[in-house]
Structures are given as structure tokens and as C-alpha cells.
Symmetry: C2
Subunit: 370 residues, 2 copies
């Protein structure tokens, strides 16, 4: 036996993303209760925020009777359509020359947000599909303004099957914009789309009260565990764990530098671990010298700090306080007690962007638990 | 004809990443000249920084006689192996239980960076494969320290086919660390690996002079157009263009807010465009209210600003100065005159992280030009 072999050391190299689908279902059902009597629907755009839209949509369809899904692009709808037969799939970025065949093939429902796109739809419309119209109420992003609505003919107004808008500040309960957008939305839908089903809120709006829920709520970020109502404690369960194997444990003598551009210098003798995850895996480089990582020691998590720059494939951690760390142990970067929200705050961004980055590299192994 | 149809408006929804493979080859060959007589090799880890490792490796193999490739993980090697028959593929994160079968199947060459991994290799070694040993010279990331080297037997030292290390501060020509690492590297290789081929530098080290090039240089970032020697003007050609279609052009009256959390308010009447790209596509959210976008007008690029928060699927741009913009026109986010380096600077990060994010969302259409 080599002098270097240590007991129980198992050499691993790939980072792992664990997704707890039971908790996803729990969160979704919790939100369904909150928004009653509105109809729930699931936002699985951006490949379900990187978690794999096919798996997420199938889970919600089979496990929670979800039959309405929102994606951003038709190419995203294509990935989920085979797993949710008969469900409605709404495409938020709408329809264009580069996506028309997919709309026809999968009978997707476009969200139409501009007069130009409406013209396109009228030329290429698909039989028995009633698109959604998006109207602008204060976000000043996509949607018909009232000036545009005024120009629509009575026949144009009858094309649609739903009217939607989107809130700008729903994560702040008392932001003046919420009430302003709600009033604008209600005024415009009554004036132009009386009787048509309506959708105003995403996850964050779901917590603002029944009047914000209208007929359908688009549940996304909260379902994935993000606190979309940060004015109160998160009621969602964390659904993801991100961990990566320790490749090396070594001493760092006092005075030595760490990482690119030598941004960390050891003030005393330290012990460091090199862990196999980096910004190439979606761990933000802005966690350099500020991020945390946790290691299991006798069943308890011990906290350590990222030191030096996060590089593309590795991070270096100060593990001086982690007594028994060895190669092949796991560093935890996101888990129940250091959630997406915590990491995003430490990285200077929002959980939505963080989650969207984490799942994208195919070298990340994904484990689903149901 | 509808009152809404404008001349030449073509409705599109997907962002596009164009990769100029001619320029990739140009950059690679330019670097090959600089590092002579060292052997060039190509770094295609992280899926070739998101550009598609299979395409990039095949291009370099067929167009520039590149026969040595570096990836981070064995699962990345698997993607390129079929396109580069007979080439050497080095795996920087090394070998472990989770990658051993791929090493055997594709005859990959592990970079061994710790005594524990060496033990693993000795148990599972693959016939006629000589691994690379990584030694630590100042980055304090992966690699054998001298204390570890001292414990290796004469037989252990003969296992390896190459010795490598990695520079921490090579983007700063006169950083004391460069000379320190070079001296440490040369001392250790002469003491423990006399006569063995050696590799110290990546793209940034290539510009530091012949003594830094040793036998093999690992060309990555510079090949992709990034200025890895920012103390002088970039000699690389930009190889990527990122553009996304305008979904809507509309007025923004004075006093109105834009985007999530209403972080932008119009001081005068403005004109805005909503463009179909967001942080879900890898455009950093840190470009909110500071990023730039360009629109072609009569053959010239006109500059506009991102206003409000970058959202997952869209950005909102102030196009008051863009006279003839219409739906279906393209907004340019990265191109020859506003390069990866420019965008990364405006986003508060480095080009490496930006490029690594950009190519990852499969909803991005990728066009390769050769």
C-alpha cells in the first residue's frame, strides 16, 4: 500500500447538482393553495432555470396535475412537449419566422406583445390556437400600450384566449408600483378584453393577495425554492444541493499567495483545499474571497471560506478549521442551510441569475430525487 | 395589409452567436508563431469556453494540425475524441472513480495533481499512457508541492510523460510572481524530472518570452480573441458576434419607470427597444443600466444603452438616438468594435467568465463561419 493512501479516500472529479423533485412538488402545491381559486401554471423557461425543463415539466404534470406551462422560446417548448401531452404551452417571447414550424408542429400558444407580431400571427395563424396578448402596465418591457390597443379592430380583439401582464416590483409588498399596475391592468382588460381570462402575477405576485392572482398565476422562482417575497421568511423548501469533490488538501505557509492575480495572502499558516468547481460550472466569480463552502464533519456542517479568485474549474478554500478533511470529501456550495438566496446575496446578484447559471454546464452531473 | 405592418420588418425571436472559425485559426497560428519552437496545444475545456468543443477541436485539428488538446473533465474529452483521431487529450482535473471508464475508452491522459490521485492511477493505470504531473509553483491551486515530490520513489518519477505548472499573474508583464514561478518550475523539473517535456504557460504566458514557453504552451483564451496581455493592444482578432432581435420599439414617456424594481426613470421622453436576450442567455445582469448595445443604421453602428435591469429573457434599450429602428432589426451585444473584453469590463468581470456564460444556453442559435 502506498504511503499516500489514506483511509476511505475516494477520488472523484465532477461536481454534482442534486434536485429534490419531492420538494419541487411540495412547493408547487403550497403555492397552488395560496393562489386559490386561480389556476396554477408552471414557468419552465431557460430550461427550467437550468434544472432540465423536461424533467421538471414531467414531474409537475404527472405529480401535480399541472397542464399549463410557460417557456420563453419555442425551442424550449420542443423539449417539454413530448412529456406533457395535451398540456398548454405558452411561449413568452412570442412567434417569429425562426420559430413558426415549431409552433405548428407542437401547437404552441404564442404570447403576442406587439402590433408587428400580431400582424405576423394574422398571416400565419394556426387553426384553433388562441394566443395570449401581453399588455404593458408599468414594467415598460414587452406588451401593447393603450395607444396600440386603441388601434385594434373588434375582430383583432377577439383573436385572443388570455390577457396577461407582468409586475415590476412584486418582491416589495408595499411598492407603489404594485397597486398602480393592478389598477392599470384591470382598467385595460375591462375596457378591451372583458370576460377574457387574465394573468398578471408570477411567483412574487402570488403573495400580494387574491386580487393580484386573477385567473392564472405563473409559478416559477418560488417553486424552485427562491424567496420571492423577501419581506417575510421563506416558506419554500430548498430543492437543490450543489456539491463538488475535494481534489487536494495541502498546507499554505504564512506569506504565500493564492489564485490568479495573487489576491489572497496568508497572514498565518493555513490549510487549504482545492475543490473541483468553478465559474465554468456557474459558480459566480464574484464569490472570490467572499464565498462560503461547507464540509461535513461527524454529521455536522463546518463552514469554510473561498480564498483567492474563483477560477474556471476550481476554487480554493481555507479549511484550517475543518479538522479531518481528505481528498474525495465533498464541498457543499448550495444546500438547505446555505441556499440559493444566501449564495446570490454573497455573490452580489439575485437567486434567479445564480440558478440560471448553475445547471447549464453539461459536465455537471445531475441527480434527481423523487 | 394591416396598419401595423412596416416595410422590411421580419419578426425573429432567438438570439444568435456567430463564431468565425477563420479568425480562430488565424489567432491560433499567430500564437503558434509567437511561441516557436515550443509545441502548441489547444485548451477546449468548458465546452471550448461555451463555443462547442467538438467544432473548435475539429477546426484546429483539420485546419491547423493541432494534435494536443486540454479539457477539464473526461466527459468533455468524450465530446471531442471522435473528431480528433490519434490526438492527445489531456484532462486537467485528473482521473477518478467517476471518470475511469472514459479514460480507458478514449485513452485519455490524466493530469495528476496530488499524491492521492497518483495512488489511484497506480491502481488503475492504463497501458502505455504516461500521465502529466502538475507541480505547484506559486498559484497554490492544484499540484504537487516539493514536500510531496520528495516522497516519490524513483519508479514513481518515471511514470510521467510531461511536467506542468500554471502561472498566477501572467497577464501582468512585470509581476514579481512570473519570475518566481519560472525559477521554481525550472528548479523542480531539473531536480525531479530532468529531460521530461515541460509545459508552464497558457495564452497569457505565451507573451512573456521564450523561457516561459518551455516545450508546450496551452493556448486558450487568446485563441478565442481575449486580450490575455492587457499591457499591450490586443493582437488577436475577435471571433464572436452576439446579436438578438428587436421584439418591440415603443415610446417611453417622461417620468415612467423601466424594468424590475423600477431602477430607471425617464427624465425626458425617450424611445425604447425590447431586445430578445437576457441573463438566461449569459448576458450578465450586472450590465443593468450600464451595458451597451449597438444597432446598424445605413451600414454604421449606432450606440445605445441598456436601461433598467437586465431580465432573464429580455433587455430594454434606450434607442432615442437610433433613428430608423424597427421590429426584427438586430441589436449587437458583442462584435468587432465592442468585444468580449469591452463587455466584461462594463459588466465588472473578466472576458473568460463572460465567454464561458454566453454559449451555454441551447436556445442560443450558433452559426459557424469558415
Amino acid at each position: 500500500m502506498s504511503i499516500f493512501t489514506r483511509a476511505n479516500s475516494k477520488i472523484m472529479t465532477r461536481p454534482i447538482l442534486e434536485v429534490n423533485l419531492q420538494r419541487l412538488l411540495h412547493n408547487y402545491k403550497f403555492l397552488c393553495d395560496i393562489i386559490k381559486p386561480a389556476t396554477p401554471s408552471a414557468v419552465v423557461k431557460d430550461n427550467a432555470y437550468g434544472l432540465d425543463a423536461a424533467v421538471i415539466a414531467k414531474t409537475l404534470y404527472e405529480g401535480a396535475e399541472c397542464y399549463d406551462f410557460w417557456v420563453a422560446h419555442a425551442v424550449e417548448a420542443e423539449k417539454i412537449a413530448p412529456f406533457v401531452p395535451g398540456a398548454h404551452i405558452y411561449v413568452l417571447q412570442g412567434i417569429g419566422e425562426d420559430s413558426l414550424p415549431l409552433f405548428e408542429q407542437y401547437r404552441l400558444i404564442p404570447v403576442i406583445s406587439s402590433p408587428e407580431m400580431l400582424s405576423f400571427w394574422k398571416k400565419h395563424k394556426i387553426k384553433d390556437i388562441r394566443p395570449v396578448i401581453q399588455i404593458e402596465t408599468g414594467l415598460n418591457r414587452l406588451g401593447f400600450r393603450e395607444n396600440d390597443l386603441k388601434k385594434l379592430s373588434a375582430a383583432d380583439l377577439k383573436i385572443f384566449g388570455m390577457v396577461m401582464s407582468h409586475l415590476a416590483c412584486a418582491d416589495e409588498k408595499d411598492h407603489f408600483m404594485n397597486q398602480h399596475q393592478l389598477e392599470t391592468f384591470n382598467r385595460l382588460r375591462q375596457k378591451y378584453f372583458a370576460g377574457l381570462p387574465a394573468s398578471l402575477s408570477a411567483s412574487d405576485g402570488a403573495f400580494l393577495g387574491e386580487e393580484f392572482c386573477c385567473n392564472m398565476v405563473r409559478l416559477g422562482a418560488a417553486m424552485y425554492g427562491i424567496n420571492t417575497a423577501p419581506y417575510r421568511l421563506n416558506q419554500m423548501e430548498n430543492i437543490i444541493t450543489v456539491k463538488a469533490p475535494v481534489l487536494q488538501v495541502t498546507d499554505l505557509p504564512k506569506g504565500e499567495f493564492v489564485g490568479y492575480s495573487a489576491t489572497y495572502r496568508a497572514g498565518t499558516d493555513r490549510k487549504i483545499a482545492i475543490v473541483s468547481i468553478g465559474y465554468g460550472d456557474g459558480l459566480p466569480r464574484s464569490l472570490s474571497n467572499v464565498g462560503k463552502v461547507f464540509f461535513k464533519q461527524k454529521g455536522k456542517m463546518v463552514e469554510a471560506r473561498i480564498i483567492g479568485r474563483v477560477s474556471m474549474d476550481n476554487v480554493i478554500c481555507d479549511v484550517s478549521d475543518v479538522a479531518e478533511l481528505k481528498v474525495g470529501d465533498w464541498g457543499y456550495f448550495i444546500f438547505d442551510d446555505y441556499t440559493l438566496d444566501d449564495v446570490a446575496r454573497d455573490a452580489g446578484t439575485i437567486s434567479y441569475e445564480l440558478l440560471s447559471r448553475i445547471g447549464k454546464n453539461p459536465r455537471f452531473r445531475k441527480d434527481y430525487m423523487l
